[in-house]
Structures are given as structure tokens and as C-alpha cells.
């Protein structure tokens, strides 16, 4: 904010200036002591915001967040030892007293349990994928699996907030906001950061708008949540009896009024609001073109699964994400709820996989056939992993798994990542990381790097210090980058 106050001080008429600073130069000198930055270059002119620091590998991101933490042990991290040792207690030497959630801390035993679902190797890369994800398996050679993610929080809200904003507390800008701030929008007729929600059929966990908040950044960088209804962006239609010219006229007059207000108070939110009105006006043309699903070829509908025509489904969100990304939206954040399998994992996980597998793979293939996969980074991720031992009753047919922040799997495809590889490894119990850990901060640093940004230089001064998405940690993982 201090910059805005400084700016505001310059918005004075000569009369005001002479009146208020009647001590002339002496006051100015004093002013320079009080506002150290007054005579130095302002931050925005020195750092080249709105452009990458170096040649980017990816221009846009689609982050498919699987909300609730799908089990890595039933999806991509194959641990046959757990099947062999099913029912036996987790050795204390593996857990080493690491903390548990309140949900399992009271359990007297921690019986190991292996995947109910079969695993196979796919593609030239020989990636292990469970039978729940037959379509993702088909595009395994486009994917870089990270088996060694780890995080700090053990419960959904802080962990989700951490992977989305780089901090657990929930007052920092979201990853999409940082990218919007750092790179600006490619297409000025759409927001740079869009959010799409869908709900699966499993045990759900909420998502909250703080996850796509702009924090201390300018509010134009906030994520824009699109509706799950037929009308993806509400109130874009001109009201009956009013045409586009009327609206233009109204906006021009309104902008004049807002400008008066801005000159008086210098509140940057006023300008942000004017910009939002203008964007909304352009969105009236840009959005209907985008959200019209009827023009997709039948083959595309079949590829995503025909649920992609039903607004609000994960498949529809994947298709829309492709369309938004194609139209230059920097960051599209999907959340798919229902992955929190504390119990009835065998019952719920197949339903969740069914809802997401086909569309996820289709998104990758669709981007590829349009020549866009090279410049679009697709991230499939979650907030943490699940335990290798059973929560609650263990039977041959069913079990549950608790939260596990010490290791989990995420993957990326497209945009400059090493396709067809697996990075990092967990031990044979699937509990601790054996090799090449990737902390959430490291992951953020790497993603920013792929987008042409140095995570240490993308900063914003707030409350007297410079903030980063990676705050004071994180390093780029070269092993993920092609």
C-alpha cells in the first residue's frame, strides 16, 4: 500500500502543494527522510512486471486439483510390499514417531494395507498406473510423475492452502494470482486467473474462495470463479430493451464519475473497479464464444466423455479449461471434490476415478493435437497423500486411509517438463521419501521457473517486507525440467 500512498501524495494541484508544503524544499527533504523510497526508482519500473524474467517453457497452466487427497497407493505409487504384508503392523522403524492426525492417533494398531486395485506398467516409459486410471495410463509417456512430494500440514485446510498459496495461514495470494501479477494477461478480454469447481461422488471436503484470493496483491489478480450452470459467467447478457451501445455509453459516464472519485481519494480499488467494468464489457463478446460447447466436434466430445456437455461436471470443466487456456487465460484452477477416503476407499475411489480419468487424459491429448501442449503446463495434484496403513476396520473387501503429508504423488505434463519420466522415490512401505524429495516450495519454484519467472525475484512488498510465493524457501528442481 505504501506505494499507493506515495502516489496519492503526488496527486496534488500546485496550489495544494504550495499550501500544504509551505516549508518548501526543507519539507521535501524531510519527506525524503520519512519516505525513503521517494527519490529512488519505484519498484514497478525496476522489475519488469508483466513479462517473464527469461525465456519461458510454458505460457499457461491448468492445475487439476484433486481435492481431498486421492490415495497415491491406489493410483500411481505402486507398493507391492504392502500387499504382501497386509494386516501386519507398520514397523515403528518406518514411522519413527512421526505425527498422525487425531483420527488415527488413537488406533492401537496400524495394519498395513496394499492396493485393492491392480497395477500395470504403461508406455515406453513403463510408468506404473493402477487400473482405476486406464486413460491416464494411455498418455503416461506425456507425463512426469513426482513420487516424492511432501508437505508440512496434516489436515485439509492448511495443506490445501499451502499448496495453493505457499503458506498455511490463508492470507497470501494464490499461485494463480502471483502468475497474473508476474505475467499479466495474454488476453485482455478475459481474467488471467479462472477457477472451476466440480464435485465427485466420494467423501467430500470443501473448497473456499480464500484459495483463489489475491491476498495483498491488487484485486485484479483475484481468481474468477466461473459458475457451474449453463451460463458460465452470470449477468453477461444485455438486459431486455438495452443494447451494447447503451452499455458503452453507461460505462463511459460511470468511468468519468469514478475518475472524479479517484482523483479525490486516490484509492487504487477505484481504478481496479473501472478496469473490471471494461473487462466485463469485452467479456460480453469473448465469453459466449468460449463457453459454447455445441461447436465441439463429436470426436472431442467422445474423447472427454459426453459428460463434458453437462455444465458443472469435471469433464465439462476440463473441456472449458482447454478452451480458456487456448484463449490465453494464464492460470486455470480446477478443484474436483470427493477424494477423502478415510473409509470405504474401495467403494468410492473407482467412482472418483471414473469421473476424472477420461477427461484428464482427454485434456492432454486435446492440447497436444492442437499444438498447445508444448506451451501449456498441466498439473495433476492434491494437498497430501494417504497413509500406508488402514484407518478404521480392515477387511478383505474394504479399508480406509488417513492423511499422510510425508510423501505423495503429483504429476505434470506438457510445458517444458520431462515427459515420460518419474522423479523421486518413496521407500517400499510407501511411507518415507527415499530419494529426491520435492517440497511444496520447491514445486512452486519449479513451476514459476517453467513459466520464465525466478521465484526469488517475483516479489511484492507488504507490511514492510518482500513476499514471494515461495516466501523464504524453495529451489528449482532441474530434474523435472526438459
Amino acid at each position: 500500500m505504501s506505494k499507493e500512498f506515495t502516489d496519492h501524495r503526488f496527486h496534488l494541484t500546485r496550489r495544494h502543494f504550495l499550501g500544504k508544503l509551505s516549508l518548501g524544499l526543507g519539507s521535501a527533504a524531510l519527506g525524503s527522510l520519512l519516505i525513503p523510497g521517494l527519490f529512488s526508482k519505484s519498484e514497478t519500473t525496476t522489475s519488469s512486471l508483466g513479462l517473464p524474467h527469461f525465456a519461458p517453457k510454458a505460457k499457461r497452466i491448468i492445475f487439476l486439483h484433486q481435492n481431498g487427497a486421492p490415495s497415491q497407493l491406489e493410483s500411481f505409487d505402486y507398493k507391492p510390499l504392502l500387499n504382501k504384508m497386509a494386516g501386519q503392523d507398520l514397523p515403528a522403524s518406518v514411522r519413527m514417531g512421526q505425527r498422525l492426525t487425531g483420527m488415527t492417533a488413537g488406533q492401537s494398531k496400524f495394519p498395513l494395507v496394499g492396493s485393492y486395485f491392480k497395477f500395470n506398467q504403461y508406455g515406453k516409459s513403463g510408468a506404473w498406473v493402477s487400473e482405476l486410471f486406464p486413460n491416464i495410463a494411455k498418455v503416461a509417456d506425456e507425463i512426469c510423475f513426482i513420487k516424492s512430494m511432501h508437505t508440512e500440514a496434516i489436515n485439509h485446510d492448511p495443506a490445501l492452502t499451502f499448496i495453493q498459496t505457499g503458506a498455511q495461514q490463508g492470507n497470501r495470494p494464490s499461485m494463480g494470482s502471483w502468475l497474473s501479477y508476474g505475467l499479466g494477461s495474454e488476453n485482455k478480454n478475459l481474467p488471467a486467473f479462472c477457477v472451476l469447481l466440480s464435485r465427485g461422488r466420494g467423501n467430500g471436503q470443501g473448497v473456499y474462495s480464500k484459495l483463489w484470493n489475491n491476498g495483498f496483491l491488487d484485486s485484479v489478480h483475484q481468481g474468477v470463479q466461473l459458475s457451474s450452470s449453463e451460463e458460465r459467467v452470470l449477468y453477461l447478457k444485455d438486459p431486455e430493451g438495452r443494447d451494447r451501445a447503451d452499455r458503452r455509453n453507461m460505462l463511459d459516464k460511470l468511468a468519468e464519475l469514478n475518475d472524479l472519485n479517484y482523483k479525490e481519494f486516490g484509492d487504487p480499488e477505484v481504478q481496479a473497479r473501472v478496469q473490471q467494468y471494461e473487462m466485463a464489457y469485452r467479456m460480453q463478446t469473448a465469453v459466449p464464444e468460449l463457453t459454447d460447447l455445441t461447436k465441439e466436434p463429436d470426436s472431442t466430445v467422445k474423447m472427454y466423455g459426453s459428460d463434458c456437455l453437462v455444465p458443472g461436471t469435471y469433464a465439462a470443466n476440463c473441456l472449458l479449461a482447454r478452451k480458456l487456456s487456448e484463449a490465453g487465460v494464464r492460470f486455470i484452477q480446477l478443484y474436483h471434490q470427493g477424494w477423502d477416503q478415510h473409509g470405504n476407499l474401495v467403494g468410492e475411489m473407482p467412482l472418483q476415478a471414473q469421473d476424472t480419468d477420461r477427461a484428464t487424459a482427454a485434456l492432454i491429448m486435446d492440447l497436444k493435437q492442437r499444438g498447445l501442449l508444448d506451451e501449456t503446463l498441466v498439473i495433476w495434484g492434491t494437498e497430501f497423500g494417504r497413509t500406508n496403513f488402514c484407518q478404521g476396520d480392515l477387511s478383505k473387501e474394504n479399508y480406509g486411509r488417513d492423511h499422510h503429508p510425508r510423501s505423495f504423488t503429483m504429476w505434470m505434463a506438457g510445458g517444458g517438463v520431462k515427459a515420460g519420466t518419474t522423479y523421486g522415490e518413496t521407500d517400499e512401505f510407501g511411507y518415507n521419501i527415499l530419494r529426491d524429495p520435492v517440497h511444496v516450495n520447491d514445486f512452486h519454484a519449479t513451476v514459476l521457473h517453467l513459466m520464465g519467472l525466478n521465484h526469488e525475484q517475483l516479489t511484492y512488498k507488504h507490511l514492510g517486507r518482500y513476499y514471494r510465493l515461495t516466501d523464504v524457501a524453495g529451489k528449482v528442481i532441474p530434474g523435472l525440467i526438459a
Partner: protein, 714 residues
Amino acid sequence: MKRLIDISKSITLFLLSLTTFLFAFTDRIVLPVWLQVAGKLHPLILHLPIGIIVLILILVLLRSQFESEQFKKLITYSLLITTLTSAITVFFGLLLSLDGEYGFDALQRHKVSGLIIGWLSYISLIFYQSSFKQKALKYGIISVLFVLLIFVGHTGAELTHGENFVFSPLQVSEPTLNPENASVYQLAVMPILEKKCFTCHNESKTKGKLLMTVADKFKKGGESGLAFITGNPDSSRMIQYIHLPFTDDNHMPPAGKTQLTEFEISLLEAWIKSGADFTKKLGEFSLPDTFVTLANQAIKSKLQPEKVEYNFESVSAATIKNLNTPFRTIFPIYAKSPALEVNFFVSDYFKIEALKELTEINKQIVTVNLSKMPITDEDLKVFSSFENLEVLNLNFTKLTGPGIANLKSCKNLKSVSLAGTKITSESLLPLLTLPSLNSVYIWNTNITDMQKTDLEKKYPKINFLLTQFKDENMVAISRPNLINEGILQKEDKIELKHNMPGVTIRYTIDGTQPDSVTGLIYQQPIAIDESVKLKAIACKSGWYCSPLFESSVYLAGVKPEQVKLLKPTHKKYPGTGAISLIDGVKGYIEEFKSPDWLGFIDTSFEASFDFGKNATALNKVVVSYGDYMNQGIFPPTELQIWGNKQGNFKLLATQKIAAPKAYNPLNVSFITASWEKSNYSTYKVIVKPNGKLPQWHGAKGQKGWFFVDEVLFY
């Protein structure tokens, strides 16, 4: 003047003697801190004697230009200053050498020769002051001084800047190592150390007594201990020093020197972690090993340096700004790059002039995205002057093919996207001889699989991408959608929609199942005269029919004047009280905690609806309930409707529903009852929850919930 000369001479003699003495007993000296500062001034002071000795040499060569008396004076004074400054330099130099950061041999050469210069200049001063007439000797001594000076200067420079500092640019850089014979250390690690560490940690300059150029010495470490601990980068001193903040004196490489990149740090860490091996070759590591992965990357990147720099000039920021519109964005590919990327958006606003205007910056443009813009073959002529164009996106434009020949002059073109256009295989041919072209995207064009295979054979360097998606199985189409959910008013009609063109929707409202041949075909919105249970499917040739879409559609009824709950709701689900039963707002059972719903479990639902004095004749009631069996929310078992005319309630009708036999999908449904039409003033509705959940349910035997959101009268 003579006095001044004498004092200077004495100081010089004293300093030279002291230095010589100290030189002989270097080992015994402990240097006080303030003298260390003097030592640091050595590199500054030394320029004085150098400059003056060169000056003296020039004076000697030009001696014929001076009168002999004057000349003698000039030389004497010059030599005096030389001797004094040399003595100070030599003394300071000795102090500096005590820092102990230099290799012994090179330092010794420098020290000895420096001392000799000091003494020699003193001797020559004596020479020139005396009446000694041997001219050859006089001038000879100056020449010797000069030659010595070059030697001392050079040994000194080597200490500061590293060996072979002067000629290094002329040397052939890095003799190429054969990856098959060289160790991974030599290939990937040493080049980093060479650039960032060896300049200060070599044989001649060994800061911190750490010698890194020789493997054995490197392993032994320096004066503060081991440089690295095999297998443990985090405890290794060199890695710790690298990660220290710049302000820390121990930060390596020191502030001001070229720093290590993130990649280099990771590589060094991985090297130490994997065992800090100096001799193993690529094949000899047991895989997987992060170090080998990173090393491979380093070696590869060295072999093929990535070319991202462009050698054309950048255009001014103002030009770029002027050309930017909301529908045509232009920006450098990164902050300092001259290369530009252009994107067009919103086809409704596209004009061909917007493309032609780019000719102004045609040299700088490397990427153009025209996806979905109404571009024709003719329009591609613009690109004939875009010599640096690398990526062109023409997806879903109006191209048919012939225009592609215009791209022939884009010699740097790497990738062309033509998906969704009408281009043919033949029209691609002029493009395919471009030297850099590596990707052509031809999905959803007239090009067939066979033609693609042919092209791939003829142009093996180019990747033709049609599609990865192959699925011969027929799959089901998605359900149709009900647009106007909630409660319909009298004149409203049911509207169904499906987002796929060419779909047939079949429906029933009488409770029967529609299929691909039965049921009514939806052609226009459906008029209804009562609440109905709608069932619909969508069908299209080439697809299986959709799963069944079911929804209860409610018709607005006659609104009572008052409503009262005769038994309270469960305390957790009070809704907004009785009024929410007649407020015309439907609930979603997924959100059964919302105020739209009233929940009952221990008691039956009993409410009275008062139509006042002027009640119209009615004959039907609809009670809308939620069905969410996972949560124990069940359909009720029985509905009773009581009517009151003159103070007495009379049972008008009873309706029972059989208990469900399996889980229903989440839905909102209704139970209805009708009676002989009459104008009762008050009605009492009683609904009994399912008192005992069935055997197949997880909570079998327990009580079921009943959730109600609306009660409608007709």
C-alpha cells in the same frame, strides 16, 4: 631540499632493512590487525613505483632533450620517489602475504623479486647521486630495473587473478573430453569448479589453504577442515558456504564473483550425495542416481547449447504499446528479448488490417497465434516478410491450403498448427522443405491417416500430429438437461436441452421408462397441468442412448393463508419454520442442512394449512421430500390428508409408499393424495417417516429421516 632527500633515504633504508629482516623470519610474525589494513593497500601503492620506473625509462631515452644538470636532478628526484614508494610497497606486500591465502612457490618468486627491486632502486639512487661517470652502467641499471618490474608485476598479477590470466582468452577453451573415457566428475562437475572455484583455490593461489584442482588435496580440505563429507551435502562445508547469505564473509563464491546457478548447486549437492566420486564413468554408477541424471543434463546442454538469443534489434516499447489492442496483444517473449509474440483474440472483432499492420515489426515477430480468426489463404501473403517467424498457430481458421505456399520464405519456421482447417496433404508440400520445421499439427483436417503415414516416410525429421485419441467402442451420450427446475407457474412449460447438436430427446411424464423407440420425442416445451415425475433420455446415432434423466417437476398450487407446524421439527433442521413449506422455494437435497428443509425423525410431520373463509374447492395435495439414503434420509411410508369444514377434521385420503429396495440416486421426489373436490377451510397433513431402515442399509433397524421442503395444494 637536501634534508628532505636525506630523510627519505633513511626511511627507505629502514623499511628495506626491516622488510628483509621480516622476510627472513616470516614464520615468527604475528600481525596486529591495524597492520593488516596496511597490507590490503599493497595493490594500490604498487602502481606508483611501476608508473615512475616506466617514466624514468622514458626520460633516459629522451635524455638528449634535457640539459645535463636538469636531467640529473630530474632522474634523482624520480628515483627518490621510486625508492620510497618501492620500499613502502614491498613492506605492505610482505604484510599482505602473511594472510596466507596464496600458494608458496608463486608467492616466494614475487616476494624475492619485489625485494630485489626495492634494493636495486635504492642502489641506483646512490649511483645517480654520486659522481660515478660510467654511463653504460647508469642506464643499464634502469633497464634491469624495468625488466625486473615486468617480472614482479606479472607474478603479482598471477596471484590476484589466477594463472595465465592474460592469455586465457587466446587459449583453446576446454580440450574436448571424450565422454567414453572421461569420468562423470571431469565431464560435469569439474567444469563448474573450474569456472567458479579454481581461480582462488589452485596451486598458486590457495585461499583458505583449500586446493581444489587436485583430487587428493581437494579431499583433504583446507584450513577449516574437510570441504565436503561424502554422502552428506547438508553437512559439507562447501555446500554450507554456498548457501550462506551474501553478507556473510564465508559465502562462496565471494560476493562480487560470479555465483553458482541453482542447477550447478543441485549438481554439486547430488555429486556429494552420490559419493563424491572422481573417477567413475557414466556407465559405472548404479542407477537410479540423481547425480547421473543431472550430470547427463549438464553434459547434454554443453553439447547442444540452447539457442534463445536473437541477433536482430528490438523495437521500441512505444511501438509495441501502440500496436497493442484488447484483441491483438504483442509482447516480448521475455523481459529483455527483442523477439515478439503476437496473439489475436475474439474472432468477432478481427479485421485483416490488424494482421497487415504487423509488417512494421515483421523482423521481430517469432510467434503468431491466429487460432479461430477468419483468416483465408489469401491473407497468408503477409507472412512472406516474416523471416524470423518460428511458431504459427492457424488452428480453426478458414484456410483451404493454397495459401500455405506463402510461408516458404519463413526460413526459421519450426511449428505450424493447422488443426480444424480444410487443408489437404498436397497443400502442405511447399512447407515441408523448410530446414527448421519439426512439428505440423493436422488433426481434424482433410488429411487421412494414410496420407499422414506417407508424409512421415518422406519427411522423417518432421513430426506430423493427427491425434492420439483412438477409441472404437461406442459410448453413451450424456443426459439431457432440465432448464427450468424448481416450481413452474401455470403458463410455464418444461424445457429440456442437450448441448450436442443432432440429438433426439425422448421423455415421459407418466412414470414409464422412455427408451430409444418409446416415449414422446421432445420437439417443443412441454405443458403440464399437475406436478409430474419427468423421465427423459437423449439418443444420437453412433452413440448409446444416455442414462435416464429423472426429475420431479412441480406446478405452483393454491397458496394457503396460514401454515402451522403441529409437531416441532428435529432441533437440528428447523428450516425457517412452517413458512418454508409454502414459500415456493425448492431445496437441493445435497444441501439438506440449508433452511429450505425441515427434518423429522422421532415424530411424524404434522402441519395445518389454513385457506381462510373464501377457500376454493381443492382435491389434491403434493408433499415434496428429499431422498438421500446415504445420510439416512428416506422417502416417507404414509401420507394422510385431513379436511376441516365446521370445526371437525375428517380423514380425506391416505396414501402409502412401499419401502425402497435399494439405494436411489440422490433426488427430490413427491408423494401425492387426492379426494373428492370440496372447499375445506383448513387441511391437516400428516406424513410418517420410515421408522425402521431396511436390512440392506448401513444403519439397518434405526429410524429414518424425513425431509420436506414444500407442500402444494390444487
